[in-house]
């Protein structure tokens, strides 16, 4: 038996609904239909009145969740695609994110963003928005890369008294499998050394963790041991674990799937450069998507985002330095 990343997300919601009557799920087509990706399949039947179809109103969906949270509920909002959260952007960054700071009222909402690229999805069904939300104070931004993290981090999100932007990667939904959900190990906010190594560190997150691991496999054949750090949470960011890894390897490549200007990779490099400059034996490097919208055709899409190949190339340059 095995479970997928998508099943982890479904099961975590099941468990959250089961264990806390204050939890409800709100999103387009998530009721009887089970959601565009089936992440809520069967939940509406099992929890009548608590898994509800929303109108196509992302702004109101988020505002509604905030109001419900004030009244003691713990809503989970599903955006049909991360890209459409742009319409709920204002309620996320100005309503949800400021509530606690302004009024001392906790805002325990979880917004699920089906994120990232898949072949043939194009500019509006492929975006990674973690860097946008992480810029604002008051939000927790999670980017699970494994089945286990998808499960436990979603459960943790619902329990957290702060707004969580839960960036689940669509590319991992069906492909990524595990034997079980495993144990609840790392708390929110901690990064994980996904693979130990000593010649260079790749800091990455979400689907790119798997590309980086494969790149590390490939570099191993060339005699290099690459350490891969899975951020898990891009805000807060576990600087200690990153610095610990760079201290071991002296070399840093940051890989992200989102747009290249600013964002997670710039933040990681800034932290390392400002805090651990002297640990670096070579200039740090970063690899992101190209600076255009995300292309539709698979040929272009593969060239737009980092891949095993481009990560290997970058690592070779980094190691050669």
């Amino acid at each position: 038996m095995s479970v997928t990343y998508l099943e982890a997300i479904r099961e975590a919601q099941f468990e959250a609904l089961r264990s806390d009557p204050n939890v409800f799920v709100y999103g387009q087509d998530i009721g009887q239909f089970g959601g565009a990706f089936k992440a809520t399949k069967g939940l509406a039947r099992e929890f009548p009145g608590r898994v509800l179809d929303a109108p196509i109103s992302e702004d109101a969906m988020v505002g509604m969740a905030v109001g419900a949270a004030v009244e003691g509920a713990r809503p989970i909002v599903e955006m049909q695609f991360a890209d459409f959260s742009s319409v709920g952007f204002n309620q996320i960054v100005n309503q949800a994110a400021t509530l606690y700071w302004r009024t001392n009222t906790p805002c325990p909402i979880t917004i699920r963003l089906p994120s990232g690229g898949t072949a043939g999805s194009g500019p509006f069904h492929s975006q990674s928005m973690e860097s946008i939300y992480a810029h604002y104070p008051g939000l927790v931004i999670l980017t699970p890369a494994t089945v286990e993290d998808a499960y436990w981090m979603l459960l943790d999100s619902v329990k957290l008294d702060d707004p969580v932007i839960f960036c689940e990667h669509k590319f991992l939904y069906y492909h990524l499998k595990a034997e079980s959900f495993g144990e609840h190990s790392l708390p929110i906010g901690k990064a994980r050394v996904a693979r130990p190594g000593r010649h260079a560190t790749v800091v990455t997150y979400s689907a790119m963790v798997h590309e980086a691991l494969r790149a590390a496999d490939e570099l191993q054949m060339e005699g290099y041991q690459i350490e891969v750090v899975d951020l898990r949470s891009v805000k807060p960011m576990d600087t200690d674990t990153i610095l610990g890894s760079v201290a071991r390897t002296g070399r840093l490549l940051v890989v992200g799937e989102s747009f290249p200007w600013g964002g997670v990779s710039a933040e990681v490099i800034s932290r390392v450069s400002t805090e651990a400059f002297h640990m670096l034996d070579a200039p740090p490097m970063r690899l992101n998507s190209k600076d255009t919208p995300i292309p539709y055709h698979p040929n272009l899409w593969k060239a737009h985002r980092p891949t095993v190949g481009s990560i290997c190339d970058a690592l070779r340059r980094l190691l050669r330095f």
Binding site: D59, G67, W101, T103
Partner: protein
Amino acid sequence: MTPAVPITCTKADLTPDFRDQYLATYRQMQSSRVLEEKLGSLYRAGGRIVGGVYLGRGQEAFSASVAMQLRRGQDVYAPLIRDQAGRMAFGEPITDALRTYMGAATGPMRGRDGNIHRGRPQEGEMAMISHLGAMVSVVAGALFAKRLRGTIADAVGATSIGDGATSTGSFHEAINMAAVEKLPIIISVANNQFAYSTSNDRQFACEDLIYRARGYGVAGWKVDGTDLAACLKVARSAVAAARAGGGPQLIVGTMLRLGGHGEHDDAAYIPDEVKFSKVGQDCLLVAEKFMIAEGWATKAEIDAWLKEARATVDQAVSLVSKEPIPDPYRESWQALSSSELVESWQL
């Protein structure tokens, strides 16, 4: 079809109970006016008020009428920019306003946010964000949660919005969603003819905003916002309908704000014809005339209430004036309630 003729009071409406509420509401309106006049003069004097001042003069009857129907501790209220009178009617202490305007560390916003953005969400009074339209869905969500958690009983939620803010997508999405969920929400549109300097004809093209009600499938009530009796009648009916399961209630009131958008604004863009038309009447004067005509109060009584209101406000000002302002060194500078997730290193 929802009538575009405003609902008015007849003699039959003026029951003793109605009269009692009328008088109580008037006193809230009067207190609000007194407080706002003080805020205005503190602003002009300079030095004590932080930032701008945004007043609800002229909109007291419309604002307070709905809030008077609410039960603090059960109902939800999300006042907007012109709702000083409604806030008072809902039980917001004068000190909340003063502390927020003066940026006192003791106030509900602790100097972090100011003026009209105050509230106590955990006590059912939402603290508005500036983005117009954004609070409607928040109220809807609070009502939804009450229903989900079985704590709704006959609770309602109320919020207001200006003529200008009806143009926001946020307003549209929220009222539509509330209608789908059939939530007991009262949305008061205060059509004061202007959004900052922009007149209705540059804001919408319908003959009357009340026609929006049918488009959303919600009940619509049109009222002269300068007429306290009519406002009270409508508010009582609309709130009762919401409590009874009638779903969202859209009230559209017409009036003028008797002042600028904020105290920095002289409102020179409001033409005299409008200022001196019926829509520009002062709801307090209208109410005073009415009370006297009905024999519900004498001029002397009204003056005595005014004196009392002034004394209360003066006392509160002198209290708050002595209170501490925020100390940046004692600030926690933490935007998350989960302290363990606040990054300890210098971000």
